[in-house]
C-alpha cells in the first residue's frame, strides 16, 4: 500500500485538518466528535447535514458552504459516522428552522442517522439517496445504494434551504431530486482501505466490474473491458430504463470519476453519453464532469442523469460556494 499518510489512525483527522487549513474562511472542523461545518453559521434556514464514511472525497465535507451543506460528518474510511457526531453537528449548526439529514442508503449510514434522529431534540427530517440503478430495488431488501447522485441532491436541496424553504419543502425537494436521479458505475480496479492495507478485490488486467458502488467492492458482474461508447450504452440503458424520461426532457448529465481515472477519460465518457442522450431525444443542458463522489483511488467512473424541470434547474444554477463546487 502506497499512500500519502503518516499514521493510519490519524488519516481522517489530518485530512480534515488540511481542508480547513486550505479553506479557513469557508470551513471549520471539530474533533471529538468529528464534523466539518461552515465557518460562518447560517441564520434562519433549515440546517443541512450529511455524512458518511470517509474515502469519497470531496463528498461530503467538500460540499459544506453557502448554497449546499451546513455540516458534514465523516466516519472512518468507508464506515458510516456515529450518532454522536451527527448530534453534535446538528446542535452546532441548526438555526431554529429544523435539521435535514441527507443520508445515502446503506444499512450503516441509515441506522446511525436514524439513531441520531431519534435522539435529537431538534425538529428533523431525512432525505434518503438511493440513485444506484445497478442494484435492484425491493421493499424487502436494503434497496439501492446512494452514489454520485448525492451531489445533485445536496446541491439542489442546499439551494432550496438557502432560499428559505421550510424543513418540509426541503425534504420534498430532496425526495424529488432523488426520484429524478439515477446512476450507474463501472470500475477497472478496486481500492485499498488504509487500515486494511490491501485492495478489496482483485481484478484481471483486461476486466472490469459493472455496477460497482463507491467502496471498492465488487459490482454486479465482471466482464472484459470494452470500448467507452459500449460501456456508456450499457450504463445509460439501465439509467434511462429506470428514469423513463419523456422525449425532449432536459437533463443534467454527470460523469463522475471514482478517483483513479484521468479527467481526459471522463470528458470522453461525457462526450459519448451526451451524444447518446441526444440520440434518445433528450437534452443534456447541465453538466458536471470530474471526481465528485470517489472511492479512494479506484479507477472507474459512473454516469448520473437527473431529469430537470424549471425548478430543479434553477436550484442547480443557484450560487454555491464550497471547496469542491463553486459558481
Amino acid at each position: 500500500m502506497k499512500k500519502f499518510i503518516n499514521d493510519i489512525e490519524s488519516v481522517m483527522r489530518e485530512s480534515l485538518g488540511g481542508m480547513v487549513d486550505a479553506h479557513p474562511g469557508l470551513l471549520r472542523v471539530e474533533f471529538e466528535p468529528t464534523f466539518v461545518a461552515r465557518a460562518e453559521r447560517s441564520v434562519n434556514k433549515v440546517a443541512l447535514i450529511s455524512g458518511g464514511g470517509s474515502g469519497h472525497e470531496p463528498l461530503h465535507a467538500g460540499y459544506v458552504g453557502q448554497g449546499m451543506l451546513d455540516a458534514a460528518c465523516a466516519g472512518q474510511v468507508f464506515t458510516s459516522p456515529t450518532p454522536d457526531q451527527i448530534l453534535a453537528a446538528a446542535s452546532s449548526v441548526h438555526s431554529g428552522r429544523g435539521v435535514l439529514l441527507i443520508v445515502k442508503n446503506y444499512s450503516g449510514d441509515l441506522m446511525n442517522f436514524q439513531i441520531a434522529s431519534e435522539m435529537m431534540d431538534i425538529e428533523n427530517a431525512t432525505v434518503l439517496v438511493n440513485d444506484d440503478v445497478a442494484v435492484e430495488n425491493s421493499t424487502h431488501t436494503t434497496g439501492r445504494r446512494g452514489v454520485a447522485g448525492t451531489v445533485m441532491v445536496e446541491k439542489m436541496v442546499g439551494a432550496a434551504a438557502e432560499r428559505g424553504g421550510s424543513l418540509l419543502e426541503c425534504k420534498e425537494i430532496g425526495d424529488r431530486v432523488n426520484a429524478a436521479t439515477a446512476s450507474m458505475g463501472v470500475a477497472f480496479t478496486s481500492c485499498t482501505v488504509p487500515a486494511a492495507g490491501r485492495t478489496t478485490f482483485d481484478i484481471g488486467a483486461d476486466e472490469m466490474e459493472i455496477g460497482v458502488g463507491i467502496h471498492g467492492e465488487p459490482g454486479r458482474r465482471r466482464e472484459k473491458v470494452k470500448p467507452a461508447s459500449l460501456i456508456v450504452d450499457e450504463l445509460l440503458h439501465s439509467i434511462l430504463a429506470d428514469l423513463k424520461p419523456a422525449r425532449g426532457s432536459e437533463v443534467l448529465l454527470h460523469a463522475n470519476g471514482f478517483g483513479g481515472t484521468p479527467l481526459m477519460e471522463l470528458y470522453l465518457l461525457y462526450h459519448c453519453a451526451a451524444e447518446k442522450l441526444r440520440a434518445e431525444g433528450l437534452k443534456p443542458v447541465r453538466s458536471l464532469v470530474g471526481n465528485y463522489t470517489t472511492a479512494l483511488e479506484m479507477a472507474g467512473a459512473s454516469l448520473t442523469v437527473t431529469v430537470l424541470d424549471d425548478e430543479l434547474k434553477s436550484l442547480w444554477d443557484a450560487p454555491v460556494h464550497t471547496a469542491a463546487l463553486r459558481w
Binding site: 454522536d84 441506522m111 486494511a196
Partner: protein, 216 residues
C-alpha cells in the same frame, strides 16, 4: 454472571477476534467493503480502555455503558447493531446484581430482538442475525431446561458454528452483500463470523470460570 465475569468474557472476545483477523477481514472484502474487522477491533479496543471504570458497576448499567460507548465508536452497520444489543441487554438486567442463567438468556434474547428491530432484518437474510437468532432461541431453551453449563456451552458454540457456515449458501437481502445478488453465494457473512467467534469465546470463558459445583 457479574460485571467482572462479563468484562473477562469481553476480553476473551477481543483476543478471539484478533486471532481471527485474516478470515473476518477477507469475508468483508469478498462481499462487503473490507472494514468489518477494523470496525469490530476498534470496538474491542475501546472496551479494554473503559474496563477498569466498569468493574464496580452492576451488570445492567455496565452493559448499557458499553453499548453507549460502542455506539460512538464503531460506526458502520455493525456499530449501531452491536450497541443496541448491549443496551437492550443492559436494560433487561437493570437492577439485577447477579443475574442467573435464565435472566441472562432473556437479556441476550432482548439484545437480539433489538438488533432485529434496528436492522429491520430476520433469519435468512445473510446477516449476523442468522447466527444470533438461533443461538438466542437455543440459549432460552437450554436455560429453561437447566442444562449443565458444559453441555449448554458446547451446544451454543456448535449452533453458532453451523449457522455461520450456512450463510455461505444464502443470497443477502440486508446489508452490503445484498448489492451483490447471486455473487454473495459461497461466502460466509462477516458479521456471522464475528458473532460465532465471540460466542465461542464467551462460552470458553464461562466454562473456565465455573467451579465443578456451579457446573450444574
Amino acid at each position: 454472571m457479574n460485571t467482572p465475569m462479563i468484562l473477562d468474557a469481553l476480553a476473551a472476545v477481543q483476543r478471539a477476534i484478533l486471532a481471527n483477523e485474516a478470515q473476518i477481514e477477507s469475508l468483508d472484502r469478498a462481499i462487503g467493503d473490507g472494514d468489518h474487522f477494523i470496525n469490530v477491533r476498534r470496538g474491542c479496543e475501546v472496551l479494554v480502555v473503559m474496563a477498569p471504570e466498569l468493574n464496580g458497576v452492576p451488570p445492567g448499567l455496565a452493559l448499557h455503558k458499553i453499548g453507549m460507548k460502542l455506539l460512538g465508536t464503531i460506526g458502520g452497520a455493525s456499530g449501531p447493531l452491536i450497541s443496541s444489543f448491549f443496551m437492550a441487554m443492559g436494560k433487561t438486567l437493570e437492577g439485577i446484581d447477579e443475574p442467573d442463567r435464565r435472566q441472562f438468556a432473556a437479556a441476550f434474547a432482548s439484545g437480539v430482538e433489538a438488533i432485529k428491530t434496528r436492522g429491520k432484518a430476520d433469519v435468512g437474510e445473510k446477516t449476523m442475525l442468522d447466527v444470533l437468532i438461533p443461538v438466542s432461541r437455543l440459549l432460552l431453551k437450554l436455560a429453561d431446561e437447566d442444562t449443565l453449563l458444559p453441555a449448554l456451552c458446547a451446544q451454543l458454540t456448535q449452533e453458532a458454528h453451523h449457522n455461520m457456515l450456512a450463510t455461505k449458501d444464502m443470497i443477502a437481502s440486508k446489508g452490503r452483500a445484498s448489492f451483490l445478488g447471486e455473487r454473495a453465494l459461497g461466502h460466509i457473512d462477516p458479521g456471522c463470523k464475528t458473532c460465532e467467534v465471540a460466542i465461542a469465546a464467551v462460552c470458553e470463558t464461562v466454562l473456565r470460570q465455573v467451579t465443578p459445583s456451579e457446573a450444574a
